[in-house]
Symmetry: C2
Subunit: 76 residues, 2 copies
């Protein structure tokens, strides 16, 4: 699961990364920092896996007021 601060939500970590990259001489636009959560789900059923991961995001892994999430499925 990829969890990102929603557009418009203050992201101090992203600002710090942006400013550090500029100090190092990189030409960058905006930087945003989020979380990456990899979870093994013991099912071969993609729809079932997706439904479970969605529930995990909603119940525990994200704050829907300030974060959005994206789910990417991978086979082991």
């Amino acid at each position: 699961m990829l969890v990102r601060p929603k557009p418009g939500i203050l992201d101090p970590q992203g600002q710090a990364v942006e400013s550090s990259l500029r100090h190092l001489g990189f030409d960058v636009g905006e930087a945003r920092v989020g979380r990456l959560v990899d979870v093994d789900v013991p099912t071969d059923d993609r729809a079932e896996a997706l439904a479970q991961l969605e529930r995990m995001c909603e119940q525990l892994l994200t704050n829907p007021l300030i974060e959005s999430y994206e789910i990417e499925l991978e086979r082991p």
Copy 2:
């Protein structure tokens, strides 16, 4: 950029997520928590963008002893 703790490296955040998900009744295997860093790079040249993002990972965004990274390019 997707930054993950390398296999074998202790990941207390991942352990906490794993244990919380089980407490909520989810049937999950291992969970690992990493960082997601989105950076706008003002170039249309994919090879150039990739080279720059790699340098950012190596100079600032990751600790190569304990983390691995993956770069995904996206057009705005």
